[in-house]
Amino acid sequence: MIRRVLLHGLGRGLLTRRPGTRRGGFSLDWDGKVSEIKKKIKSILPGTPRDLLPDTSHLPPEHSDVVIVGGGVLGLSVAYWLKKLENRQGGMRVLVVERDHTYSQASTGLSVGGICQQFSLPENIQLSLFSASFLRNINEYLAVTNAPPLDLQFNPSGYLLLASEKDAAAMESNVKVQKQEGAKVCLMSPDQLRNKFPWINTEGVALASYGMENEGWFDPWCLLHGLRQKLASMGVFFCQGEVTRFVTSSQCMLTTNDEMVTLKSIHEVHVKMDHSLEYQPVECAIVINAAGAWSAQIAALAGIGKGPPGTLQGTKLPVEPRKRYVYVWHCPQGPGLETPLVADTSGAYFRREGLGSNYLGGRSPTEEEEPDPANLEVDHDFFQEKVWPHLALRVPAFETLKVQTAWAGYYDYNTFDQNGVVGPHPLVVNMYFATGFSGHGLQQAPGVGRAVAEMILEGSFQTIDLSPFLFNRFYLGEKTQENNIM
């Protein structure tokens, strides 16, 4: 009797996993052993059906403590910090689900790769400062045995932001905040600007702010690769698939004001494979929405925003994809090696690329000019009409240039206040956000990853307090506006 109960209980636990599914680290060459067993069975019993021990190595595991939707730099950063800050080694199983393993549309790879501390919000400045120190010591953070050290190709050339008359006062107060937080930024008058960078035309520039240290640009692919490599060595699971469904369970509770609130919690994630109807239900405890430009769809799957507008249930995640173009041109008489990333008063920006007089840059379109984000086709007329005139005005050498190539990428644009969304959702209690950074996600990823990991493991932000970035602000209508967006 007792034996039957024990077998029944144990059986449910041990034998629900189909043979052939990968546990990861069970034994060396597990896949090889399984294929050998299959061959032996086929040779002994020639009439066996093809899928006796089906290969499920492409499927995610059936249980995972944390499921991270989105394998870009933010998702990987959260996974890294979860693994780094967990109390017991191997104490948490983390699964990263990425729809496209080539990252062809992911914002991370298509990014210009800049990092700067010139923001108006102290939290953004601190995130950037931490990210700079993370990148500087990247080989200590992301070291993997027997792997060569990472070379991020960091250019410490700094950012130069130009302000017209009407923005000068805002820039001055921003620089004050930045200096208070510890960023190395200095203000320059038009005369000083002309002395320092003779190739600039200072017409219309009232003030400029120049970052001297911890600012510049780097190679985002290298960071992505380094994170993936380190995560694989830390035992994080990767899966290529698309999240199609969340299975939630609800609980009705009363608030202190005697209002009924339905709290939901996701306990299963359905991950669908590419070009197939096959899907794997993954039991999970925590879901992290790091899907970048597509975060709103993932949030909608969990029922966020399904309710009467104006209520907390009806507040959608206001993140949408916005297409941005980047153009690469060649200009032999252009500014020299010392050129920082220059952001003009008109919003146009450019930086050097390599040693060979190549430059890349672009401009954020105005609301009316917003291109259709359905695809990543490049509009070359946009450069001719909306970008080049401003560049040529600011840098006369750019009057003669030749465009070599161009690409487009998405901003995960937060339409509410252009700042990130971090932390748990008030109603779907185990979904955490790490998205909506509207063009500065790459440079804040290390800091945000750490903050989300702290929120999950400790229950509150420990190092940098990102409470202004919680989801609640969308319902309460409190904007955490960032003024310096490119």
Binding site: F154, E213, G336
Partner: protein, 235 residues
Amino acid sequence: MWDLVLGDRRINSLRLVAPMWNGTRGIHRLGGAVVPEGNQKKERTMLQFLTDHFYDVEALRGYLLQREMSKVHLKNRFRDKEWIRPDKYGHFSPEFWNFREVPVEAVDASDCEINYEGLDNLLLLKELQSLSLQRCPHVDDWCLSRLYPLADSLQELSLAGCPRVSERGLACLYHLQNLRRLDISDLPAVSNPGLTQILVEEMLPNCQVVGVNWAEGLKLGPEEQPQDPASPVPA
């Protein structure tokens, strides 16, 4: 030093050192570059013979060598001020404390394991004129971006042989507008040394940039002699 003087085979290395010890004459014949080869051999053998057989000659030779070395020390000065060096244990003498108020003009941190945080100490030296970071293993592009506080005084900088410095870090040297001599030779992480040198020279027009051996990439024709590595690099 004593070993360099004895022994016929090591005289070649002494010739390289000889230009430093100019104007010395005496029984050592250390200005060997001037004396023709045959003569030198005969006298050397004579001196050698005497030294091997008479203790007094050996002692005299030792004394004269010490005198030469102190003269060399007098010559090895930074613009008439002596270098303060550590002793053989790496310690500085206690008299160093007397110099607390004196501004530091030159620092030689060659082969030193100084890193990004360690540069805090160097950046406090507001009157630093010459900085040598040759062959420092941890000095990289991030460290170079920290050097701008020295812009008012720094005139000479040497980064020769630093394995982690690349052309991206060299772009930060733009802030050092008073720089007059920059040594960027032998940087393995720089992808295109010739082009980098041109761009750095354009960036710092008042600075003399020492870097690339322009003959490096050239192929020698059959009639040209191989270059003597000791001859000065054409700047």
